[in-house]
């Protein structure tokens, strides 16, 4: 049976990680375009919310203690912060020099990373945000309005058809639809099979192949999943190196160097530039930066 907890946990062990159950801490990110971080921290403390700085993120905090939901405070409603899991805050920070750039956020809804990109861009340049689900696009639009984002255009579009935009981008964020991981979904092992993983990996390759066509020379593409399965991560990036004329770039962020040998298959050595994040302080995650070779 290619599913179940034992099956997946055995795979993780082969990749060098011993399974442990974890309790995820709720994380938030300060929207610096709307408030200075120092002022924000003081304000949250005054309203009875105790924060713990996330050491590997700028503007990221774990909720240490709160008497009420952090998704219903006036500060949240005024767009001063977003609720965003710690590892999910990493991808947008990997781009260099976002100001005034043309950015594609290819799988954007519900918009946590779109708002983060707008924040890092200080509302300059242009973000083109795509998603396919109308309900999720509405959530994205509300998120943009709440956080006072002015530099984004949203299209209801499958990113596998992104060429229809007739645009080229300096930066592309692929926060891929993926199988997820057990740390963010308590029912994950019951729900997922290797077939789901393979189906998602195929979808990711299709998105990557299509959007890579829109990357300018010297442009940067960040690929991220919250999956622990190598088919959606290292194996897909190895495929991209072999078939899409892309190369990995070294990144400096939280996480471990990705393995270059997956279940006895030797991958391109540059896969080690990617980062694999095993669940612990954050959920499971994978991230890498690609450029045209």
């Amino acid at each position: 049976m290619m599913s179940g907890k034992e099956f997946f946990v055995n795979r993780y062990e082969k990749l060098g990680w011993k399974f442990k159950d974890i309790e995820l801490k709720q994380a938030i990110r300060v929207n610096n375009m709307n408030i200075a971080e120092e002022e924000f921290v003081k304000r949250m403390q005054a309203s009875g919310i105790e924060l713990e700085k996330i050491p590997f993120l700028k503007g990221g905090y774990w909720i240490y203690k709160s008497k009420f939901s952090v998704g219903a405070t006036p500060e949240y409603l005024l767009g001063l912060y977003s609720i965003q899991e710690a590892a999910a805050q990493i991808p947008a920070t990997l781009f260099t020099d976002l100001k005034d750039k043309m950015v594609l956020d290819a799988c954007a809804a519900p918009g946590g990373k779109t708002v983060q990109l707008a924040d890092l861009m200080r509302n300059t340049g242009v973000i083109v945000a795509l998603d396919v689900d109308k309900r999720r696009l509405t959530a994205l639009s509300n998120h943009l309005e709440r956080c006072n984002v002015h530099n984004t255009v949203v299209y209801k579009m499958d990113s596998r058809q992104a060429s229809k935009l007739n645009m080229e981008f300096d930066r592309i964020l692929l926060d891929m639809p993926c199988s997820g991981n057990f740390a963010a979904d308590k029912e994950w092992f019951k729900r997922r099979t290797i077939k789901d993983v393979e189906r998602n990996a195929k979808l990711q390759r299709e998105i990557l192949a299509e959007t890579a066509k829109l990357l300018k020379n010297n442009g940067e593409l960040v690929y991220a999943t919250c999956s622990l399965e190598p088919e959606e991560n290292e194996l897909n990036i190895n495929w991209a190196i072999e078939t899409l004329n892309l190369q990995t770039e070294k990144i400096n962020c939280y996480g471990e160097e990705a393995p270059t040998n997956i279940f006895d298959k030797q991958l391109d050595n540059s896969i080690r530039n990617c980062k694999r994040i095993w669940p612990g302080q954050t959920q499971g995650f994978f991230v890498c930066k690609l450029k045209k070779a």
Partner: protein, 156 residues
């Protein structure tokens, strides 16, 4: 553009927006910049700064537009922290929660509701002349930022 200007005038405010940069998509208005204008085609879902929408001949503003008006000379009622909480929960404003009034105090006029940090929480309609002693429930809540949560509930 007219619905937006008319809406701002309800707060005795004048808002200056470049008409060439206002884009209408079905019943919704967006303010874009030159860069965005080049990146949008007719099929966009959302663009730039959302300003509001027309429904049943009535203009419903966005919070981005309210924040823009709040930067201008306009009717504003500044409230204390307790009233801020109550207001974003959909409650009306009691006179006792008002710290300062800028502009009209007249019954029937509209005012932006602002917290002590100068942030716009929404807007309401003045229910009684604010100079009068017998005035207790001072402003009827018409729209507050708690609407973002109510939208989520409506959409699920």
């Amino acid at each position: 553009m007219k619905p937006i200007k008319d809406f701002a005038s309800r707060f005795d405010a004048i808002i200056k927006l470049d008409e060439n940069l206002i884009v209408k998509k079905e019943n919704r208005y967006f303010l874009v910049n030159e860069n965005l204008k080049r990146a949008i085609d007719k099929d966009f879902f959302y663009a730039g700064a959302y300003l509001g929408k027309i429904r049943d001949d009535k203009f419903f503003p966005s919070f981005i537009l309210l924040r823009m008006i709040a930067k201008e000379k306009a009717n504003k009622i500044i409230v204390n922290e307790k009233t801020e909480w109550l207001f974003v929960c959909g409650r009306d404003v009691f006179k006792g929660g008002i710290i300062q009034i800028v502009g009209s105090k007249r019954r029937g006029d509209y005012a932006l509701i602002i917290n002590q940090r100068g942030e716009c929480l929404g807007f309401g309609k003045i229910l009684c002349n604010l100079d009068e002693e017998k005035c207790k429930v001072a402003v009827k809540n018409i729209l507050d930022v708690g609407d973002f949560l109510r939208r989520e509930t409506r959409q699920t």
